[in-house]
Symmetry: C3
Subunit: 272 residues, 3 copies
C-alpha cells in the first residue's frame, strides 16, 4: 500500500534529517513529549518566551502548540510563534488539551485557529467536538463521552477551520475535508499514562516536519505512535509504569518492518 | 476492622466514579502526581491560570494545592480556586512543601490556611511544625529533624486550623483534633525518589474526592500509598529508578486484599 | 592517582553531609535533575521566585542556574540568587542550554557571566563556543557541529570569564585557564534521553557543594556521571527508556571502587 511505504519513508527521513520540532507545551508533559520526539528520531526544543519564540521558529521545522497548562501570556507567545511559522511555511500542529472544560481553553483554541493557519489539530473526541460547537462531555482533560460519531466531528473541524483533524480514541480518525482515514492501532494502556495524547501530537509534529501533506503526516504519526504502543504493551503486562518506559524504547526501536506488518489503516473519500 | 473495609470501599469508589482531582501544584512533580492519581484510578487535571481555576473547580471533586515551586501569582490562583472549592463544598488538600525554609512558603501556607477552609494538610514533620510555630530544621524541602513528637505537632496543627493533619514520616500520623491514627506502612525507598511526598498528597486528594470524612480519607490515602510503596520496593532492590517505575505499577494494581493484608493502622482518641 | 582518591573522597562527603543544591532550572528537567541530585546523595531544592531565592540560597551549599526554558523574570531571579550566592561564598554553576540558538539565550548567559562570579559553566561545544564568539552550529538545544577544537573553546571560555569550563561531548574537557583535563567516560545512550546534559550539570553542582576547587569539582561530577552512564548502559541494551531508569539506579549505587576502576581522566597544564 502506498500509504505504508510513505510512512516508512517519512520515518527514515526523520532519522536522517533530524528535524527540529519547536514545542510550546504544557508543564506536565514537557519532558515526556521531548523524549518522544527524540526517541522517534527528531530533535525537540521547548521555548515559550515571547522574546525568543520567533527566532526559535526560524531554525525549526515544525511547531507544536499544546494548551494543557495555559495562561494568557503563553497563548500570546503561541500566536507570535505561530505567525512566524506561517510566514516561514513550516506546519503548525495544535493540541487543544481540555478544550471544552473551560472557556479559557475553548476560546484560546478558537483564537489560535482563527489567527493562525493550523495544519493539524490532534485531540480527543470531546476536545475536538467543543471546537466545532458539538455537545460533548469532558472531565478535566479526559474525554468521557460525546454523542456524535468521531468521523462527523473530525469532518466538521476540517471543514470549519480548513485543517486536518487528527482525532484519537479507540480508533483514530484523520480527516482533511476530502479524505478520511481510520487507524486501528494503539493499546488501552496508553490511557493509563499521563500525556500519551500529547506525546502522539509531538510525534505527529515530527512527521509533519518531513512530510508536507498534513493528512499523510497525521496518519504517519498516529500509526507510528499506535504501533509503538502495541509493542510497548507486549512487554509490559498491565503495568502502566513499565509501559511508560517501554513506550520510549518502542518509539526508538520502531522499524519500517513494524509499520508494514502492524499498521491497520483504512483510507477513503469523505462520503457525502 | 471497620477502617480497613472503609479504605477498601473507597478504593472501589475511586475506580468506579473516577473523580476529577484538580491540582495546582509545583513544576517538579506535575507529571508524577498526575500519574499517581491516574494509577490509583481517579482523573487528574492540572490548571493554574486565574482565568480558569474557578471554572475547573466547578467540574472537580477535590482540589490539591501544593506550593513546591510557588510564586505570588500562583498563590493568588490557589486562593481563588480554594474559595470556589469551599463554596462548592469539595475538599481542599494542602501540601506545604518547604514551609519553614523561606518566609514566602511559610506565610503563603498561613494565608491559604486562614483564607480557606482546608480539609487536610499533608506534610512532613518540619513543614507542619513550621506552620504552628514549633521549632524544626528544614533543608530546602526535606525535613531533617524536629524536636517535637509528630503526634504533638499533628494535634497542634489540627487544633490551630481546624483541619486534619496528615503528617508523614517513618510512621505517618493523622489527627483531626479528636482522633489520632498512626500508619506504619511505607518504605525507605520512598525518600530516594523526588516527589513521593507530593504523590502521597495527590493520592489523599483522590480518596478525599469520594470519602467525605477528611480523617478517614487521609488514613486511606496514606495507607494505600504506603502499601503501594512496600509492594514496589519488593520488586526493586535498592534501586530508586526502578522503584519509581514500580510505584506506578503498584498503585495501579493495588487490590482490596492488599489493604486487608498489609495495612498497619492504629486509631485512638486524642489523649489529654 | 590523586585525582581519583579526591573524587572518591568527594563522593563520600556528598553522602555524609547531604549538601543542599539550589536549582533555578528549566521546566523540562526539573524532576530529572532533582532525582539525579538525590541519587548521587545530595539534597535538591527547586525555587525560582524573586521573593524567596535569596533566602533559599542562605541555606544552600551550591547554586545551579540553567536557562533551558528561560523567560526574563527567571533571569532576574537568577541574578538575584547568584549575587546572594557570591556574597555567601557558595559556588554558582551555569548551564547555558541553547546558547547560540537565540539572542535571548546568548545574551542572558553573558549577563549572568558578567554580573556574577560563575565558578563553573557546563555546556556542549556549540553552547560554549557561542559564549566566546566562536562560530558554531546549534539546532535548538543540541550541538550539531563546531569548527573548533573543544580544548580551544574551553580555554577561551575560562580565560574570558575567569571560570572553569566543563565542556561535554564524546570526550569531556575541563579547563580553568591553567589546567586542562579530558574525561573519556560516558556513553552514546546519554544523547538519547532528554536532559542528561542538565543532569550532569546538577551532579557537578552536588560535587561543587563539597569540593572548593571548581576544576576538581567539575572533573569529579563529569567523571561520576559518565561512569554512571556506562553502568546504566550495560544494563539497558539500545533502549533509551530503560537507560533513563538505570541511570538513576547507577548514580545511586555508584561506589568509590567504580571510580577507581572506570575513570578515564587525563590532566595536563594548558599548553601555550
Amino acid at each position: 500500500m502506498q500509504i505504508l511505504s510513505d510512512i516508512a519513508e517519512d520515518l527514515k527521513l526523520i532519522r536522517r534529517r533530524r528535524p527540529l520540532v519547536h514545542n510550546i507545551t504544557n508543564y506536565v508533559v514537557m519532558n515526556e513529549t521531548a523524549n518522544a520526539i527524540l526517541c522517534i528520531g527528531a530533535l525537540p526544543v521547548m521555548s515559550h518566551a515571547a522574546e525568543e519564540v520567533q527566532e526559535m521558529v526560524s531554525i525549526a521545522d515544525s511547531l507544536v502548540l499544546n494548551i494543557g497548562t495555559l495562561s494568557p501570556e503563553w497563548i500570546d507567545a503561541m500566536v507570535a510563534a505561530g505567525k512566524a511559522a506561517n510566514k516561514k511555511g513550516i506546519p503548525v500542529i495544535l493540541d487543544p488539551v481540555g478544550a471544552g472544560a473551560t472557556r479559557l481553553r475553548t476560546e484560546s483554541c478558537r483564537r489560535l485557529l482563527s489567527e493562525l493557519r493550523v495544519a493539524i489539530v490532534r485531540g480527543n473526541l470531546a476536545e475536538v467536538a467543543s471546537l466545532v460547537g458539538i455537545a460533548s462531555e469532558v472531565r478535566g482533560v479526559e474525554s468521557i463521552a460525546a454523542d456524535n460519531s468521531p468521523e462527523r466531528v473530525a469532518l466538521a473541524l476540517a471543514e470549519t477551520y480548513g485543517c486536518t483533524a487528527a482525532l484519537t480514541g479507540p480508533i483514530d480518525f484523520v480527516c482533511d475535508g476530502s479524505r478520511l482515514a481510520s487507524i486501528a492501532n494503539g493499546h488501552p494502556l496508553l490511557a493509563k499514562v499521563v500525556g500519551t495524547g500529547c506525546m502522539s501530537t509531538a510525534v505527529v509534529g515530527a512527521f509533519a516536519a518531513v512530510q508536507t501533506d498534513p493528512f499523510a503526516a497525521s496518519i504517519a504519526g498516529l500509526t507510528a505512535f499506535g504501533i509503538a504502543g502495541e509493542i510497548a504493551a507486549s512487554a509490559s503486562g498491565d503495568r502502566p509504569g513499565t509501559f511508560h518506559v517501554e513506550l520510549y524504547n518502542a518509539l526508538h526501536s520502531l522499524t519500517e518492518d513494524d509499520i508494514y506488518s502492524a499498521a491497520k489503516i483504512d483510507v477513503s473519500d469523505v462520503g457525502r
